[in-house]
């Protein structure tokens, strides 16, 4: 009896131990009989299902089935949210009846954390910003796809590498030292960093580097977030450069206008003084030198005005390939044989522009190229073609609106331009040439003229390899251009008529004779306006056209023209003037002068004007 009582006590104690174990379990435990009814539920099951144990026991739960060891089930909570559990099922026997013991481990929080982690991972994977994580030695542990886009290195390549491989050799180590100091101090470092891509190109990023703490509160790694700002930085540099050029242009233009007035006075009064001096005397020659020097100064002023885009512009549709061809031919005959010349000039649709200015652009670029190869020779290549440009390219180059552009490329294989001064080549008075070999205005004039035509100019150069200048000019509006280009004639059209040319400067007179005779005309040249007038008076019908300089001793060009027109009113007269000595149009018309031209005379323009006048056009240029 005593034994039985002891066995019963031990059994109760054993039952109590197992009940305690089951009751204290963090998992919900339920026992289901062969009909699917819950016959036992522990305390955790009560809270897990949100159902009182007395009600839960007796509920028709169903037969629990698991595929492998566990299966995931979802349980609605009284809060309206869904809970989740990992269900494990054991089938056993109780009182010769099969029973199922299901233990349910709450995975609601783990699933929420996993979902949150997945969202975070997806966000980093899909972020536009480059993200990489390094250990505290700077070795890359992880990089996202944007990192590949910015640096060109695949994530696999980057993993395990020291992040310093992205740093360009010329970047200050100080920046990186400061960055790590901040991170080690538990702070975030922000700033711009430059880097080198896998292909050797450069990139620029706005970066932030932050410490990452582990569970023990130690800084275990650093997260680097980089936004590629290469384009923004390029645009910013371009804007700064454009603003600088604009400011220089405004300043130079203002000075040039005032200086022009001063030069006009110097030239005017010198010429007045010269008139009262005996020709060929020492003083006469001295004044002649003053005027000559002042004229050179005026040419410089003209170039400054062209740079600052304040000179008067007359835009017409121009077939630019004709000008490019003309410059090419001119250079081929004048450059030394050590410079080999290549050309690829295509006939393009017209651009709207000023022929003289565009001629100067081509000429300046080619002269520069030739000078870069003056010592050792080389190759000068001239290419001209129509190019379509994307919207992005047009914006980047700050070009005017157009469907298409012509592109002029002038390349040399000369000494190249060092990267340190490449940004400055379009600034006025900036030159790398020896003293006396360049004014430093050539490229600034090119820049000014091209900008004035709604175009853009860029330069690429490698030291000891050569330089390439690319000029883009927008094509003229087609409809407008078509109606006007018909008027545009071949610039070097000649004839066999008789021309009387008057200029007191013998070298200029001789140059004009050569130029006009080259076009087939019969030319008589005079350096004395009175002698010219006498010749004309003797046989006015033996002259078909008169070209006269404005500023001449004894008798000025306008007076000479008036005298000649009083003898023969239909004689076409072209009056040549300097930049600051233009006479106004009503006055010229009143005198009967048909055209005036700005010196120095450009063969193309002069040839065109002569032909128009001889062909009877009532043309006033």
């Amino acid at each position: 009896m005593e034994n039985r009582l002891q066995v019963e006590r031990q059994l109760r104690e054993s039952e109590e131990r197992f009940r305690l174990l089951v009751e204290q379990s963090p998992d919900a435990i339920i026992m289901i009989n062969s009909e699917g009814l819950v016959v036992f539920a522990n305390r955790t099951a009560e809270s897990f299902f949100g159902i009182e144990r007395s009600r839960l026991e007796g509920t028709h739960f169903g037969f629990p089935v698991v595929g492998g060891e566990t299966t995931e089930i979802e349980v609605p909570r009284s809060s309206g949210e869904m809970g989740s559990a990992e269900m494990r099922v054991v089938q056993t026997w109780l009182n010769q009846e099969p029973v199922y013991i299901a233990s349910l481990r709450d995975t609601t929080e783990r699933r929420a954390a996993k979902a949150s982690l997945s969202r975070l991972a997806a966000a980093i994977e899909q972020a536009a910003e480059s993200v990489h994580v390094t250990d505290m030695d700077g070795n890359i542990l992880f990089a996202n796809p944007a990192f590949e886009r910015v640096t060109g290195y695949s994530r696999e390549e980057a993993a395990g590498m020291w992040a310093g491989f992205l740093r360009p050799y010329d970047e200050s180590k100080e920046t990186y030292r400061e960055m790590w100091e901040q991170v080690l101090a538990g702070k975030t470092w922000s700033g711009n960093l430059r880097g080198v891509t896998r292909s050797g190109g450069r990139f620029e990023v706005a970066a932030s580097v932050s410490p990452v703490w582990d569970a023990e509160g130690e800084i275990a790694s650093a997260v680097v977030v980089m936004r590629d700002v290469s384009k923004e930085m390029t645009l910013e540099r371009q804007l700064r450069q454009a603003q600088k050029m604009e400011a220089i242009g405004t300043l130079a233009g203002g000075i040039a206008h005032d200086f022009n007035n001063i030069l006009s006075a110097i030239i005017g009064y010198s010429e007045l003084t010269q008139r009262n001096l005996p020709p060929e005397s020492d003083d006469w020659e001295n004044i002649r030198e003053v005027v000559s020097a002042a004229r050179r100064a005026r040419d410089l002023v003209k170039q400054i005005l062209a740079f600052s885009r304040q000179s008067e512009e007359e835009f017409r549709p121009i077939e630019l390939h004709l000008i490019v061809n003309e410059v090419f031919k001119l250079l081929r005959s004048s450059l030394p044989s050590s410079i080999e010349m290549h050309q690829s000039i295509r006939k393009c649709r017209p651009v709207l522009g000023d022929a003289t200015q565009l001629h100067q652009v081509v000429m300046n670029l080619c002269t520069n190229a030739a000078q870069a190869m003056a010592e050792d020779g080389g190759e000068l290549s001239l290419a001209f073609e129509e190019v379509p440009l994307s919207e992005e390219e047009i914006a980047r180059r700050e070009l005017g609106r157009s469907d298409a552009f012509v592109k002029l490329t002038v390349s040399d294989t000369g000494h190249g331009i060092p990267p340190t001064v490449l940004d400055r080549v379009f600034e006025p008075y900036f030159t790398t040439k020896e003293k006396g070999k360049g004014t430093g205005l050539g490229l600034s004039v090119v820049h000014g003229i091209v900008k004035g035509h709604g175009g853009g100019v860029s330069v690429e150069s490698r030291v000891e390899k050569g330089t390439t200048f690319s000029v883009f000019i927008p094509l003229a509006d087609l409809e407008a251009a078509e109606s006007k280009t018909a008027e545009y004639e071949s610039p070097l059209k000649g004839g066999n008529e008789r021309i009387l040319f008057v200029d007191d400067e013998r070298p200029l007179a001789n140059m004009a004779r050569q130029m006009l005779e080259g076009l087939g005309y019969r030319v008589e040249v005079f350096t004395d306006s009175l002698e010219a007038l006498e010749r004309f008076r003797a046989d006015p019908d033996r002259v078909d056209l008169v070209i006269t300089d404005m500023t001449m001793p004894r008798m000025t060009g306008d007076r000479l023209a008036a005298e000649m027109l009083s003898i023969r009113p239909d004689i076409p007269v072209i009056l040549c003037t300097g930049f600051s000595e233009r006479i106004d149009e009503p006055r010229a018309r009143e005198l009967g002068i048909r055209a005036f031209m700005l010196k120095p005379l450009i063969s193309m323009e002069l040839a065109g004007n002569i032909r128009r006048l001889l062909d009877g056009e009532a043309y006033f240029v």
Partner: protein
């Protein structure tokens, strides 16, 4: 969840799921595979979203998902958990 039952079939196999997530979609696919086994030609599948049909779930005594319910003929059977093992499920439903 749309019902995919057919009026011509006299018996219903009702599947309770929660929402339209990947778990719910997998349970539906498993249930369709059970119906396609050839032993349940007279059954149509009815899918019920427990989140939108609390009253129906209470009526059927469903407290977790996925739960598959065979209401007839014969004694009703309810299965809860993984439905991918077709022979095991058919056996639990009393059809094998």
């Amino acid at each position: 969840m749309a019902e995919s039952g057919s009026k011509r079939k006299p018996h219903i196999l009702r599947l309770y799921v929660s929402g339209r997530g990947p778990r719910a979609r997998k349970a539906v696919a498993d249930a369709e595979a059970i119906l396609a086994s050839g032993l349940m030609d007279s059954y149509a599948l009815e899918v019920v979203d427990l989140l939108n049909n609390a009253a129906s779930a209470q009526r059927d005594g469903v407290i977790a998902t996925p739960t598959l319910l065979k209401t007839g003929p014969g004694s009703p059977r309810k299965i809860i958990g993984d439905l991918k093992d077709v022979p095991k499920i058919l056996s639990a439903l009393g059809l094998q």
